[in-house]
Amino acid sequence: MTALQVSHVSKSFPGVKALNDVSMTMTAGSVHALLGENGAGKSTLIKIVTGIYQPDAGSVMMNGSPIRFANPRQAAAGGLGVVHQERNLVTRFSVGENIMLDRLGAHALSKVNYAAIYREAELWLKLLDLEVDPRTPVSRLSVAQMQLVEIGKALSLKSRVLLLDEPTASLTPNESTVLFRILRRLRDDGVAIGFVSHKLEEVFDICDRVTVLRDGINACDSADLTTLNRGDVVQMMIGRAERITKRAPRPKPDATPYLEMRGYASGLGHRDITLSVRPGEIVGLYGLVGAGRSELARSILGLSKQLAGDVRVEGETVHITSVAGALHSHGIGYVSEDRKQEGLILLHSVLANGGITIWRKLANRLGFLRDRTVNAQVGPILRRLELKTPSIYQTIGNLSGGNQQKVSVAKWMAAGVKLLIIDEPTVGIDIKTKAYMHDLIHELAGHGTAVLLITSDMPEMVDVADRILVMDGYRIKGEVENDRNYDAVSKAIMGFIHGQQAA
């Protein structure tokens, strides 16, 4: 029985066609995997289904009738439960109250009947095998338990369609196993479950159907997962293996490492981190969500306390305590994965964003500096990056994702950093700019910049990095020399990560 049918949905944002004629059919009593790389269109599809976006074309049907939810609340009331990647609970409230938050009383001044609420919540908790008292404050639960509470909340609204976005991203293997047992039972009870994940093992473990998106189109539409093997799915997700572009072999740099860390421990929980990046070298840092990669970048920049170990820049032991210090004293820059919140100042112009790192340097003795002075430095770089903007005074929030990303790299090029940490450089940008970014990283390294590349995009990693450090649980698990043989390298990386999980 078809529970949720997405037919020929398209959605464009200016500059980018996020979804193009995408279809997906979820049936009751089945766990349906929705796969795709970052930026393939998964989250846009989920947002369309739940009413956050309206599609440009196509339709969404639930139980045979077309739906168009105006907002997520309507979707929930309409029987479509979504458990988002981030937790959406009122942590000071009890478990039961969170589950029943929209049913605390008939009208505003109703007395909350806690006995009844806890009784009903208990039913859902029992169904989920969650052995917590519904009176417990959510703040005392583990992340996995919170996740189950959210599932319980969705189910308590009589959801027959349940979408789970990266539900295992922050769970331990044991917790995942528990979650899967429950999902199977819900499936057997006739719930249609949508499952978004990066972890293919899990997908093969629990899902029976699969829809793969690639660059906004269906790489497959609700295929039977039993007829596919892992290689097929990977193939569909990343396209051809030949996406690993041919590049001239790069000389192996043997200079003193620009950055070297030994036995480093941070206040964020990193332990025993040892790594080095040489000038002209591109070192990849691979790991799953929550492995502590971006956090390591932040620690290098001095945003968390160094608890142990030795950090050297150009062979000298240093103590970096602020981003300003990292930039001005040590020539280290950081391209954030969160372009809109941390990378750019969307309210300000292209020029202001491109020049922000060098204002201090360019200002004259009285602190004055003029646009012309800044542009003399930033302009040539923007032109070299072929930035498409009506003018350098354009508000950067109005540019496309790819062009925004160019500016967030350009500001570090303008500052002439010696080490650039690049975090997820191609999330949410189009294919062409993506290839361009990869070339740009190589070009930077070619000019002697040391690059530390963080990405969860395996092909990108294999395409760009010279050698790859594998990170899991805030530790470095191993190192893989990148010979650009995709299968071998990805297998070696996964080996390091799963070696940990088996332990």
Binding site: R73, V90, T91, L104, A108, K111
Partner: protein, 332 residues
């Protein structure tokens, strides 16, 4: 291990109980001062003290409900003032009977609060700026109507209410305070609207995804705040025996000080009626003590400001501590 986490749990709960700290401070202050000044516990002084506490508690509750939703209400005092003069005004000028005037005054408070709440909910403009405009508008209407002259026609029954005692040294003014406090405690802990206000305050995104109507909740909170401001305004009329247009002018600082001393988090979602009560008590004791020890009354301003800073610091430290304990608990 189980025992360990149990003690941790108890500790967390102890730190979590917002009224304990201020409660102890109040008790120590009362004992300490009465040792130096036995007159402190004279029935007259208790009467004066409790009267002041009663009015200030209702004022603080009016701010507390807005703090709960993560906003602020600068117009609290000007609503109270407007209600005060309207209440006496209709009695003096039109001979309206007291119960009707009371209903009229409370109605104005609710309407004024709701109007601000409606604009905030509808436009999502910051509560600060809307209530700043409200402050000016209500104050302007107040002064425009009264020409800055007080109304003297406070009926005897109201005067008696403001100066009489219900039991021994306890003033009648205590009654509305107790009703409001218990009512607000019940609201925050047992009523749908109170829970929704706190849910909105602690995590607006989650609250909205859970099906709470954010606009209605915001309007409710401001209406309640207006109502409490109105009650406080009328209580002050009774206490001062006169319809002063300046009523409400000096509410701003103390209305924030007491909830913050009582452990309220200004970003919302965390308020304590009990803590706020002891916050009010501490402020009242300090004010009284300064008078008794013949210290310049302007020092009160300084002390109030310092108290706010001190409380903010304590709240922050405690927050950090609880988070750490919980992190340890979750890790174990």
């Amino acid at each position: 291990m189980a025992a360990q986490s149990n003690t941790d749990g108890r500790l967390i709960r102890a730190f979590d109980n917002d009224w304990i700290g201020p409660g102890i401070v109040s008790a120590v202050a009362v004992i300490g001062i009465s040792l130096f000044q036995p007159a402190f516990l004279s029935s007259f002084n208790i009467f004066v003290l409790v009267s002041a506490i009663s009015v200030n508690m209702v004022i603080a509750l009016g701010q507390l409900v807005i703090i709960g939703i993560g906003q602020m209400n600068l117009a609290l005092g000007s609503i109270g003032g407007l209600v005060a003069i309207s209440f006496v005004g209709v009695i003096e000028k039109f001979g309206v009977p007291v119960p009707l005037a009371l209903a009229f005054g409370l109605g104005i408070g609710v309407a004024a609060g709701m109007a601000g709440g409606y604009i905030i909910a509808r436009t999502a403009i910051s509560a600060f700026i809307i209530t700043l405009a409200g402050l000016q508008i209500f104050k302007g209407i107040n002064l425009g109507v009264t020409e800055a002259q007080p109304f003297y026609g406070v009926p005897d029954v109201v005067k008696a209410f403001g100066t009489g005692s219900v039991l021994g040294p306890l003033p009648w003014l205590m009654v509305p305070m107790v009703i409001c406090s218990v009512g607000m405690w019940y609201l925050f802990n047992r009523m749908r609207i109170g829970r929704h206000i706190l849910a909105m305050g602690s995590n607006p995104h989650a609250a909205e995804l859970s099906g709470i109507d954010p606009k209605a909740t915001i309007i409710w909170a401001h209406a309640l705040s207006g109502l409490l401001a109105a009650v406080a305004g009328i209580m002050l009329v009774a206490k001062l025996q006169i319809g002063q247009p300046t009523i409400g002018d000096d509410w701003l600082i103390s209305s924030f000080a007491a909830p913050v001393i009582g452990g309220a988090v200004l970003s919302g979602g965390r308020v304590s009626v009990g803590g706020t009560f002891f916050g009010v008590v501490i402020i009242a004791i300090i004010t009284q003590a300064l008078v008794m020890f013949n210290i310049d009354p302007f020092v009160v301003q300084i002390v109030l400001g310092a108290l706010i800073l001190w409380a903010v610091a304590i709240n922050r430290l405690r927050e950090v501590r609880i988070t750490r304990m919980q992190a340890r608990g979750a890790g174990a």
